[in-house]
Point group: C2
Amino acid sequence: MAVEPNRDVNAHVRRLWRHRGTTVPTPRRGPRQQLDLDEILQTGIAIADAEGLAAVSTRAIAARFDKSSMVIYPYVGTKENLLALMQDHASAMPSWDDPGASLADALHAWAEALFDVYLAHPWLTDRPWSQASQGPNEQDWLERLLRILDAWAVPPSARPSTVTMLYATVRATAGTAAAYQRMNQQGMAEWRERAEATMKLIPDLCQRYPMSTRLEPVTPRWQDAPRAGLAGAVELLAAALGSAGAAAGPRLG
Amino acid sequence: MAVEPNRDVNAHVRRLWRHRGTTVPTPRRGPRQQLDLDEILQTGIAIADAEGLAAVSTRAIAARFDKSSMVIYPYVGTKENLLALMQDHASAMPSWDDPGASLADALHAWAEALFDVYLAHPWLTDRPWSQASQGPNEQDWLERLLRILDAWAVPPSARPSTVTMLYATVRATAGTAAAYQRMNQQGMAEWRERAEATMKLIPDLCQRYPMSTRLEPVTPRWQDAPRAGLAGAVELLAAALGSAGAAAGPRLG
DNA sequence: ATTAACTCTATGCACTGCAAGAAGTAAAAA
DNA sequence: TTTTTACTTCTTGCAGTGCATAGAGTTAAT
């Protein structure tokens, strides 16, 4: 990367789409490349999965290959580019069959699949998302969702809002699910301690916030609450779309 | 802060609720405090508003008072606590009258008010959110929303999902609105360049992603798209709740 | 008066992304 | 074949971070 690093949008896009027809910018002269972009990303993803996005540093990744931090830069350009590549690499869409029974079922399948991806890589929640062009894997998800909405004749005027709500809800519920998951006993104790401290310092908390304090009594299996919340949200949304004048069955094609 | 810093949950909670009946832990001995917690938070918020959350450092804040970084710690405990205090401080809820015409209107007023807060402090999007006890200001929002749902007799089973969806959607749309807003000409050019690069490198992009590429043609006033998206989402959600067996009018009380 | 608790300052450590230069290697040109 | 040149990788170093620690000064309780 002898050229200016951040302006090289072209190289970054080529790397993003490297498995969909483009070639990574790996020119001719000089010593052979000893590392592989996919391996680098996998390493970064492994670190992020285990220790969080903050633990991902060029030094940490390079250390796994017994190299120093600067080795990474020829492969990714900048750290921000590295994170973007990791984001798309971790977002690979699995394959599944669209349930044909109802719009709600189809949306549910999509949402749960995305939820699982976010659960497997909780740091994805910390990354920005926009429906403006990201990498190919992320685009796959959007395209799939729009296909579902189209098949069930959801009116085009309702589609952008639906897309926004679904993505936002999946990301939010997956984020809290991941937070629950990584709550070991010590994190749990800390949380409980904090709740108790609030109760002790604000004795009339339940009078001040009657509705929200009544909400919280932990459910029997509170670990599953986020997934259930997502299911309920999808159901609500599908009901709204169904009553908004959609057809009764899917259009095939 | 002579004691262990992170374990002092009590002091943190007292600071969070300092304007609601608790006293900050600024006890007896030692020299008078030269700084004020609210001023510190305001400074941090100003920095975050102007330069983003990443620019908020103890050194940067302290520099505005011509002090060194360690001065901040007696006031906040840790950096994470500082950010949590900033988050709640910036989330103060304005006052408005609940529109009584329809559930949709009431939800819309709530959502737009929160949207405005997030637009004023875009870095709030980067902070985690959970309905488990945060600070008092954030709790105000949740309580208000639940009050609305209760007044319109939204069935309790639908409330958690509704809350999750609304918060997630507001946060998501406000995030993209803020991103649009900070897109000056250079950011705009970069984005356009990237889109063009993708088009050039993947010539059949529109065939591969027929639905999602058709979505993008920029709207006339694309700056307003996120707000409009939020409005549409609220409308959808209200329709779903309305058809889910809610009463026709608000219950006062 | 003594002592303990507190705030502020200075220093230093381990960490970050990355600019810049040095050193080495392979392909192209002579 | 030899030289040149383009390209890699590696080392060093800089400016930045949160914060542990220790010291000096200040105040209130004892």
